[in-house]
């Protein structure tokens, strides 16, 4: 059966990098039905909303979503509900994409790109699993109100609600333990149980879930310490699982440790392994249209899509091998360029992957 892929390129460098990933998918010799739709700023331009109804409908119907990036300074003055990033929040919530998988891997060829010393990051291979539909991102109530009590009573205050229900913690816990089983069998659950009720609750449930995986080692770390340990000794981690807010921060920090966030894909999965796949980096409006963006994170996101949602692991392997090959050939986009390598454009990089395939 032909698989249907929703292609949401978005803003900034999104269209350029997604175009290369689409070429790669088309070169595999499989029959995919690729349907494009506008999202983010492009969605707002097309129909007045960052997540147009037709785009959401397409994403729901499709077997998987290939996503570029959203956001541009020119939308900064819009009301929050109309800003590009609402599209990504809306897709996560409406599609139930609760499990965000963010590998932070250092490619040996790119060891020099990291701002950390080679011995600290060489061989780095962490999988950060971020819960994506709960926490303070969506908790109600939230807003600006008159402060109801305490020393600031009567003043205006901004407020939000952090929350996790038992089954939300449980299901992301299972994702983490199952992923660890396929790796080095270590899960570190990051919390702030010493201060937050939400994360004491989170920790208690993680311990319960962990009992079902006696072959996996479970440890716990406070989020402030995790931010330190990622700098001090990132290789101590295998799978790191945490909530939506802490995961937002730590997964970006971990990507940057590699020095080549332009290489890192991500997957956001629902309970049935349907997913949205996007590069870990953003829309980079400053370099949009210049043809210099790195398409490899998006191409590798397409590979993750084949593996997790479309049951085509062999094709995923092919793409990943092709990406390794072009790195070995010394080809580099500007973001990962070093003296002694060959600087190429977005299209040249995409073409190089195609020709290896």
């Amino acid at each position: 059966m032909t698989k249907k892929i929703a292609v949401l390129a978005g803003d900034g460098i999104g269209p350029e990098i997604v175009a290369e990933a689409v070429n790669v998918l088309n070169a595999l010799g499989e029959s995919f039905e690729l349907e494009h739709a506008p999202v983010g700023g492009a969605g707002y331009e097309a129909s007045g909303h960052p997540l147009p109804e037709a785009t959401l409908k397409l994403a729901k119907e499709a077997d998987a979503v290939l996503f570029g990036a959203v956001g541009d300074w020119k939308y900064d003055t819009l009301d929050r509900p109309l800003r590009p990033e609402q599209a990504i929040l809306g897709l996560r919530k409406n599609l139930g994409l609760f499990a965000n998988l963010r590998p932070a891997i250092l490619y040996p060829e790119l060891a020099g790109a990291s701002t950390l010393k080679p011995e600290v990051v060489s061989g780095l291979d962490i999988l950060i699993i971020r819960e994506l539909t709960g926490d303070i991102y969506f908790g109600q109530p939230r807003g600006v109100r008159e402060c109801p009590d305490g020393p600031f009573k009567g003043e205006r205050e901004g407020f939000d609600t952090m929350r996790y229900a038992e089954s939300e913690v449980r299901r992301i816990g299972h994702v983490a333990f199952q992923a660890a089983r396929k790796r080095n069998k270590k899960v570190c659950s990051v919390d702030k149980a010493n201060v937050l009720e939400t994360f004491q609750f989170w920790k208690d449930i993680m311990i319960e879930v962990g009992k079902e995986y006696p072959d996996v080692e479970l440890s716990h770390m406070y989020v402030d310490n995790a931010a330190m340990q990622l700098v001090k000794n990132p290789k101590q981690f295998d799978v790191l699982v945490t909530g939506n807010m802490f995961g937002d921060i730590l997964s970006d920090q971990a990507s940057m440790l590699t020095g080549s966030i332009g290489m890192l894909p991500s997957a956001s999965l629902d309970a049935n392994n349907k997913g949205l796949y996007e590069p870990s980096h953003g829309s980079a409006p400053d370099i949009a249209g210049k043809g210099i963006a790195n398409p490899l994170a998006t191409i590798l996101s397409a590979a993750m899509m084949l593996r997790y949602s479309l049951n085509m692991a062999a094709q995923a392997d092919r793409i990943e091998a092709a990406v390794k090959k072009v790195l070995q050939q010394g080809l580099r986009t500007a973001d990962i360029y070093e003296a002694g390598t060959t600087k190429v454009s977005t299209r040249e990089m995409g073409a190089a992957v195609l020709s290896v395939l």
Copy 2:
């Protein structure tokens, strides 16, 4: 008038490192009234509570508080309100210590201790200003309840309330802008305005406060990006101001960039510059009693105390110069030891500072 200093050594390495800072204070030739009291695990042992009433009373009466560190694994099984870290939260709240100043400075002599490449961190000098009495740390309501609505209705859920009132943001904003005036005149306010109502509110008020400081450049950064930029190019920052939760994470991350968190002091100030001073590192129960802990962060915290709360800037300068001197002499505790330097114990390091004074 004799200044009264509450000395709260706490747990783990706290007593060892505080002892050295006390020696330094006593060597200045000023007349201080130093009064000791138990806190943290030690408070719990002494009177069943991590922040005994007498300790809180002393801290309130004193002109300043010199604090060691709290926490030990042996208290992990206590109920949360009895755990050592509640003491520090209680002191902050009861003393109104809303402004946490955390310098992240790289000492040229210790450049090698960082896990980051020398060119990325050499000359690093960031001041992180963390709001300390608001945010999700103290917001009500919080707890575990039956989930009131949504897809998890009826399940148990953990929840907390994030909140900032207008005047809370305003006063920490003023602290940041005033600090920046004495430095490189740049404030970066870190928020998550794209997702959180609290931090859209925070950002709006920071912009208002910033108008009173036309000589200081104000920028805004999302917290996930800040965590990346601290890895990618930390020297872009001068003063970084943020809320309690984000500040907890980013200030620890920034300290670790220097590779020598054992060197970094911190101040927590109220509206009248009364303050609590403590090293940025923790109680390190694993090395407690071994005489190998680094006392310099605590000694430098005592210097901050002289400068900010006791109006003795010249004495603060003397201490800071003495610390620089012992580093130049090649003396190192184990945490900052490198081949070619002289490894010394906690007491030897303290004695070396004294002999320079």
